[in-house]
């Protein structure tokens, strides 16, 4: 498969959530959840997106599939900018882009049977009816490792891992090309995480899927991703091949993140140096100019509070936004 052909290009994507006050709902400030982020996702690859809570990774994922209307920027899917399309014009793209959600308990409608949950997409896009639809649902259940008799049962009868599989089957029902996995494993226990990850990998190989994998578990992201993007406070700070990122992290924030991964060998763990970040993550409400990481950065220089670092390619597809380079 040609892994270097871009499926999605994100250009200067911004998503601000306005804070409105008063009777006339005047916008007094903006929460800059995603602020000027650009990257591409190649066909058939898995792009990991990591960062701490509240850094905008989930918002990025949701904005790309247009669950949120982007404030500005372009989302170029297969050569066409979908950022400004209306919900009606989005209809064909809704079949191509799907999402797997974080919370397997909240993401399934408790009043519908599993069959109807999976079949909903088939009904909305009027893909199949009757026997064909039933068979398709059974096939999908089977594909995600569930019993096809489960179609008539309700979500509350399933465990977390099984529910996540139902969520995956729902996403697969429309035969998508691109799936945003929004922390699909963080709500599951460790033994089930591996099962679900392996299944996602199998599905990717069989169906040629492209994933945007949002997570905060760094070792899991390394395992599944071809490339990894690191986000901090609405900005992409580093993006490169996953092995490269683990071997040679350039941004001070990435270095700190990676030093937090537990090492299973006690001797190695004692020998290595843990970079502890001082201070709190600043508020994303109208952040001050300059680099957003400057307050917690060990290498902060005067320029960091004056000028915003450019997100640039240092060669070999290793992007970083830092004044050190």
């Amino acid at each position: 498969m040609d892994k270097n052909k871009a499926l999605i290009e994100i250009k200067n994507l911004k998503k601000y959530f306005p804070i409105k006050k008063g009777l006339l709902k005047k916008t007094v400030a903006n929460v800059k959840a995603v602020d000027d982020v650009s990257f591409t996702i190649n066909k058939g690859e898995t792009l990991g997106l990591v960062g701490e809570s509240g850094c905008g990774k989930t918002t990025t994922g949701r904005t790309i599939i247009k669950l949120y209307q982007p404030t500005s920027g372009q989302i170029i899917y297969g050569g066409k900018d979908i950022a400004k399309l209306s919900e009606k014009e989005m209809a064909p793209y809704r079949r191509k882009m799907q999402m797997i959600f974080q919370d397997p308990y909240a993401s399934l409608d408790a009043r519908m049977t599993v069959g109807d949950i999976i079949g909903e997409a088939i009904d909305i896009h009027k893909l199949m009816t009757g026997k064909e639809r039933t068979e398709r649902i059974q096939y999908l259940l089977d594909r995600v490792g569930l019993n096809s008799e489960h179609a008539n049962r309700y979500p509350h009868e399933f465990s977390g891992g099984q529910r996540q599989r139902i969520g995956i089957a729902r996403a697969l029902a429309v035969q998508p090309e691109f799936i945003v996995c929004d922390e699909p494993i963080s709500a599951l226990d460790v033994s089930i995480q591996a099962q679900v990850i392996n299944m996602l990998e199998d599905l990717q190989n069989d169906m040629g899927l492209t994933y945007l994998f949002v997570a905060h578990d760094l070792s899991m992201v390394k395992h599944i991703s071809n490339r990894i993007g690191v986000m901090y406070l609405g900005k992409m700070v580093e993006l490169c091949e996953s092995n490269e990122l683990y071997k040679k992290p350039l941004h001070p924030y990435t270095q700190a993140l990676l030093s937090a991964i537990p090492v299973p060998d006690p001797e190695q763990a004692a020998a290595r140096q843990r970079i502890v970040l001082e201070g709190e993550i600043p508020s994303p409400i109208d952040p001050p100019p300059g680099c957003r990481f400057k307050g917690r950065c060990r290498y902060a220089k005067p320029i960091c509070s004056q000028q915003e670092p450019v997100f640039k390619d240092l060669g070999g597809g290793h992007f970083v936004a830092c004044h050190l380079y």
Partner: protein, 304 residues
């Protein structure tokens, strides 16, 4: 202890089938019904409600008396074998008049509640789902309606449209939906942020579909409780309006008019007041018990 190979034994294939669910499949409604059945008071209420509804429909057909024939030979008789609840001062059988009254009171209760269910659910659902200025405008309208005492404008409407069954129902329907709309709006506001709604939008579901297939079915518990509790309140309002002379006109009688008529003679013939007032009390009580029981049964936190 040394662990050797022969300590292990192969698990038979059928026992490995961990994916099987043994527990019988219970839908939300089956589960709620199971819990409701355990609540004796609520079941008592439910049986009484069914009983009074059946009696109101079929009772008058089986009786040899009717509500309008006057017989001055049997004025103001006490309860007896021939006239179970006695007769009034026109010699009309009070039992049959109460049955006819039940028809009117229950019709008002059911029809007004169904109308306010329809209006309230749609209004509250739209306000909650679309949010923003739509919600703001719609809720301010509700606030205005809420700030006017209901009774005042029910009475105003009654005087404009004239007394009668139809105008009572219309007046109640257009004034009582406000509470339902607020409940539904609150539910929809809480539910629309849930991931299953986002999932439906990712699949390309239309707003109508999300509202009708996901949000309203998930709010059904509180809706049904509000509905059940709004029936007695409608019955009570109808009785009250009839009592003050704004209800159905003679010779038709609702429970309110029966009570009102009996009040004039209650020192001499207390049974004439006792029976219609008792019918109102028991019915309201039964609906309240049923509503409370449903509230418990439909609460998802009670699931075991």
């Amino acid at each position: 202890m040394e662990i050797t190979k022969d300590l292990f034994e192969r698990v038979p294939k059928d026992e490995r089938d961990l994916n099987k669910i043994v527990r019988p499949s219970l839908t939300y409604w089956q589960d709620a019904w199971r819990r409701l059945k355990m609540n004796k008071l609520a079941m008592g209420g439910l049986f009484f409600v069914i009983f009074i509804t059946l009696v109101a429909i079929f009772g008058p057909m089986l009786s040899k008396y009717n509500y309008y024939s006057q017989d001055f030979a049997i004025q103001n008789q006490g309860p007896s074998g021939t006239h179970w609840f006695g007769t009034d001062n026109f010699g009309r059988d009070i039992f049959v008049r109460i049955l006819y009254g039940a028809r009117i009171s229950l019709t008002v209760g059911y029809v007004a509640s169904i109308l306010n269910l329809t209006i309230g659910v749609l209004y509250g659902g739209i306000a909650g789902y679309f949010g923003g200025w739509v919600d703001n405008v719609m809720m301010r309208i509700i606030d205005i309606l809420y700030s006017i005492p209901t009774m005042i404008y029910v009475i105003l409407l009654m005087t404009v449209m004239g007394a009668g069954l139809k105008s009572i129902i219309i007046a109640l329907a257009i004034s009582y939906w406000v509470g339902m709309a607020r409940i539904v709006r609150a539910q929809v506001l809480a539910l629309k942020q849930q991931e299953f709604v986002l999932a439906a939008r990712t699949l390309g579901a239309s707003n109508t579909r999300i509202l009708l297939r996901h949000l309203i079915p998930n709010s059904m518990g509180p809706i049904i409780v509000t509905l059940t509790l709004s029936i007695p309140s409608a019955i009570f309002t109808e009785s009250f309006l009839s009592f003050i002379g704004l209800g159905v006109s003679a010779p038709m009688a609702s429970w309110g008019t029966l009570t009102s008529e009996a009040l004039q003679v209650y020192l001499i013939y207390p049974y004439q007041l006792f029976f219609p007032a008792g019918a109102i009390c028991l019915t309201l009580f039964a609906f309240q018990l049923l509503g409370d029981g449903l509230r418990d049964a439909l609460d998802p936190k009670m699931r075991k």
